[in-house]
Assembly symmetry: C2
Homo-oligomer: 241 residues x 2
């Protein structure tokens, strides 16, 4: 009997990739507006290369962008980038389409909800609090805080322990086949691959670990309803044997 639904955060509940792209565009636009002597496309593509090489959590993107463009350091341009980036992040942070509707529906079905996510704990909590998602979730488990990353079994086992349920009583929902789906299946949980955003076609080797695939979070309530009914009819069959 499914009792607990665990969600990944980025690109499952929070529209992170879209936001980051918008924020980077606005950062570069604001830098050009304040005198960066390079056209938008050149600067933007250089920034994407840089993020690709140094990772999206590197804290000196705009400094390094100037270096890569052979420009001398100018704190005004960096500040313009920071403003463009932050203004977007703070005003345009959005939950994924139908996320709240799905959470409300699942709660009303008596399911207990949790988040299991990678990432910087403070930044992840910022997203949760800013979107006012907090009250839906009994536990928020952030891997960096635990010292392991998904798909490490420990993070999923920790979640199960916190909820006090067995693996087969829990479902993991996430956009990443390797981290979310393979990881959760590995400890015996049910898995729902949310085929969404930039991971839509990533890690397809791990697709076999997904029990279900959805394209819209509103498919979840019905799917879990079905899974519950199936289980209870299986039990009946058992009882009649």
């Amino acid at each position: 009997m499914i009792k607990v639904v665990l969600f990944d955060l980025d690109d499952t509940l929070v529209d992170t990739t879209k936001l980051a792209e918008r924020a980077r565009r606005n950062a570069v636009e604001n830098m050009v507006k304040h005198g960066l002597p390079v056209d938008f496309e050149t600067a933007y593509n250089e920034l994407l290369d840089l993020i690709n090489e140094y990772g999206s959590n590197f804290s000196r993107h705009f400094d390094y962008l100037l270096r890569r463009l052979d420009l001398s350091y100018n704190p005004k341009w960096v500040a313009a980038g920071v403003i463009g980036y932050h203004n977007t992040k703070f005003t345009q942070l959005k939950d994924v389409k139908n996320a709240k509707k799905a959470l409300i529906k699942l709660s009303s079905m008596g399911l207990r909800l949790g988040i299991v996510t990678d990432g910087d704990p403070i930044k992840q909590w910022e997203k949760i609090l800013r979107l006012e998602l907090e009250d839906f979730f009994e536990h928020v488990i952030i891997s960096d805080f635990e010292g392991v990353k998904k798909p490490h079994p420990k993070i999923y086992q920790k979640a199960l322990k916190l909820f006090g349920v067995e693996p087969e009583e829990a479902v993991m929902v996430g956009d990443r086949l390797y981290s979310d789906i393979y990881g959760a299946k590995n400890v015996g949980m049910h898995t729902v691959w949310f085929r969404y955003g930039k991971r839509k076609n990533s890690d397809l080797d791990y697709r076999e670990y997904a029990d279900f695939e959805i394209h819209d979070l509103l498919e979840l309530p019905k799917l879990l309803e079905g899974l519950r009914n199936e289980e209870s009819s299986n039990k009946e069959v058992h009882a009649h044997r």
Copy 2:
């Protein structure tokens, strides 16, 4: 003949102290709202002590606040603090009363304007750009970027050199008697002490270095008008001798 007016930034053009206080209050309020098990006054006073000891640019205020309150680390509370702080900083950043009016008036009098400020260059530029003050100023000199701090003469000499004027052709306006007024007078500039904010009664030993004291930035145009007239009549007297 006065040609150039140099301004300090924090608490002269930008209402920094008021903003910081509001931001800290909102940070603690948001932490309490999200479950920090301490009353507002206790937490806020502890934060003020902490800032007093570690400085306002210390980057781990909220972490350390939890330690000082003997609470275990909780990224949710830190995130709540960060959100409260940033929301305030980004939405309530204000220029000092009459700052823009005074800048417009001084510009229309043909005076050339500059900023000479301490502080982190990116953060200082963020304030300037967010308040759209940039276009008023021919040069922005930020001491941390030059490797010296006010009242070091180098920072003032650098400003004079950038404008290509003699010390007696420039006025420094600032809220800090030691850094702004003593520093600028030391290199031979005219000085206007803006008696405003938390420095209203600080460093009074250096008061003798202030040629003028004002309580409102709108006093500046008239004052500088008077100074110009006085100089030109002095010149006439000279000429008639």
